[in-house]
């Protein structure tokens, strides 16, 4: 608005200093002796003054019209909120205010016409791009080789958004051609349009942000809801499990299966990727793995992974996703832990009095190949034996310099806390990564199961 006023003021001042027609070049008027000539001169001067006055009045009215038009435009545009809606409204108003046949507004990839189907978009794009590159107004009147057939005149004005030219306003077929006041008005509209589009974009961004946050909150709730609410009670095991979802939820999950006819099974998985889709896929994988663990005859960890892979391979292929998974089955009669590992890391085992070591996977993650490659392995699990299954949110946690926590530190901390109860070990590990990241955002879910043999 400011620059509209400045332009207007400048023009008025120019009118003020226009010299009278009959002034001599030096500035002092020359008066002829003859009275009739003098009379004529006076008349002529009077006429000139009247014309000046008329012109000034016209300009004043024009300025007032311009201000009024801008006020109307601002007031009416404020009620439109989406970028598309704002563009459509501005195109309609620009057409009306400039008495053109139609207008085109374009911002980034979006182009809006009023009336619709006014001109071929590809043709228009050429002019709009040219105007954006020129960074100033482009006015063409027929006959002009660059004008498309049937178009009498065209005026294109660049639009500044957030300090850069990111759009253009095109006015088409002004009856009688574009006059200087038309151009002034059009420039003012283009300027206003920039401000309104900025507003609409800001609103859209805020809305998108809020929507994303809501979706994330839902995904987080779903994820936490699907985790077990109680821990299984086995007399010879001390068990603790927890999952800390990141702000941008990942696809971590864990589950315990306790059926009366079979020994305790535990499952921990990490779906590739993050966000709502990972949380949804996590629900699917958890269901398949849980069903296999509950109902598969003679289920072993490897057969559970194989069944889960068979059930989910096609769906995971369509979704471009996979899941690393670790499944273990406790055998209380022999003090053994049987496990199978489909590409999951880190899994840490520590024999009583021994050193913590990584249990490396043999099979690819679930959903990568049509058949599972994971086999069953057995660990001695007497009192004092320790199994810590975590997700990569631990080893990939980064400090403010970007250094990763890594596997070595994780192993060292497991050794350090190994004599503590399961819950204390878990707290120890969480506080170790919290200390390491020193407030740096948690980028991925951090999930763990700690299982310890007890007498």
């Amino acid at each position: 608005m400011t620059s509209v006023l400045t332009q207007t003021t400048r023009q008025m001042t120019e009118v003020d200093v226009v010299p009278p027609i009959h002034s001599a070049p030096g500035g002092s008027a020359v008066w002829p002796c003859n009275q009739s000539i003098a009379k004529g001169c006076l008349l002529s001067r009077q006429l000139q003054s009247e014309r000046d006055l008329e012109q000034m009045t016209e300009q004043l009215v024009e300025t007032q019209d311009l201000l009024l038009a801008m006020y109307d435009l601002a007031k009416a545009t404020r009620s439109h909120i989406g970028v598309g809606e704002v563009l459509r409204h501005l195109a309609r108003e620009a057409t009306r205010l400039v008495y053109a046949q139609g207008a085109v507004l374009c911002v980034g990839p979006t182009m809006v016409q009023y009336p619709e189907d006014l001109i071929d978009e590809r043709v228009m794009n050429k002019y709009l791009l040219a105007a954006e590159q020129r960074t100033d107004d482009l006015v063409l009147s027929a006959p002009h080789p660059a004008l498309p057939e049937g178009m009498r005149n065209l005026c294109i004005l660049p639009i500044q958004i957030r300090g850069n030219i990111q759009g253009a306003l095109g006015l088409i077929n002004r009856e009688g051609g574009f006059t200087a006041p038309d151009l002034k008005l059009a420039r003012a509209i283009a300027e206003q349009a920039g401000a309104h589009i900025e507003h609409a974009m800001l609103y859209q961004e805020t809305l998108d942000q809020a929507r994303l946050q809501t979706e994330m909150a839902v995904a987080r709730r779903v994820q936490l809801q699907l985790l077990p609410h109680t821990r299984p009670s086995v007399s010879t095991l001390d068990i603790y499990a927890e999952s800390r979802p990141a702000l941008q939820v990942g696809g971590d999950f864990y589950d315990f299966v306790t059926e009366s006819d079979r020994s305790l099974m535990l499952i921990l998985g990490d779906v590739s990727g993050k966000g709502v889709s990972a949380a949804m896929i996590m629900g699917m994988v958890r269901f398949a793995a849980r069903s296999a663990a509950r109902f598969l005859p003679d289920a072993t960890p490897a057969s559970i992974l194989s069944r889960t892979n068979n059930d989910l391979y096609d769906d995971l292929t369509l979704l471009d996703s996979f899941t690393t998974a670790f499944v273990a089955q406790y055998d209380p009669n022999h003090g053994l832990m049987r496990y199978a590992n489909a590409g999951h890391a880190p899994v840490i085992y520590r024999a009583p009095g021994g050193r913590a070591q990584m249990l490396e996977a043999d099979g690819v993650p679930v959903g990568v190949l049509p058949i599972s490659l994971s086999e069953d392995y057995t660990l001695a699990f007497p009192p004092g034996a320790l199994l810590v299954i975590t997700t990569d949110g631990f080893n990939e946690a980064r400090d403010p310099d970007g250094t990763m926590f890594g596997y070595e530190r994780l192993l060292e901390f497991v050794d350090e806390f190994a004599d503590q109860p399961a819950q204390v070990i878990a707290y120890g590990l969480y506080s170790a990564i919290d200390g390491f990241t020193a407030g740096h955002t948690q980028e991925d879910d951090q999930t763990l199961i700690v299982i310890k043999g007890i007498p």
């Binding site: 990490d270 590739s272 292929t317 489909a342 880190p346």
Partner: protein, 109 residues
């Protein structure tokens, strides 16, 4: 994200740089849709880190190529990237070569 792609014979080659993660994965998946042939080599020489979204994108490409009787092969893994492939056992799913030349010639032998 602009991808640096080349063609050597009937093998499409993709060069990736820096962190290969959730930000880059969609562009790679989108590239699969424009593949002229199902024979692909992804050169990871300049990739310093790879996350699960990236592994999923690679697995997705490998499956698409194998469905069309081709393959997606990898070459020139840096140590930190190689470790991820070994831990997740994704090295059992992909054919991985030390150099790009070996990966490309593997399609003709």
């Amino acid at each position: 994200m602009a991808l640096n792609t080349r063609s050597i014979g009937n093998v499409g080659v993709l060069d990736l740089h820096g962190r290969f993660d959730a930000h880059m994965a969609p562009a790679v998946i989108e590239w699969y849709g424009r593949l002229p042939s199902p024979h692909v080599v992804i050169n990871l020489t300049d990739v310093t880190f790879i996350d699960s979204s990236a592994l999923a994108a690679l697995a997705g490409g490998m499956k698409r190529c194998r469905q069309r009787d081709g393959d997606l092969r990898l070459c020139a893994l840096q140590q930190p990237v190689r470790v991820i492939f070994e831990l997740t056992r994704m090295n059992r799913a992909f054919e991985i070569f030390a150099t790009e030349a070996e990966a490309i010639s593997s399609f003709t032998h």
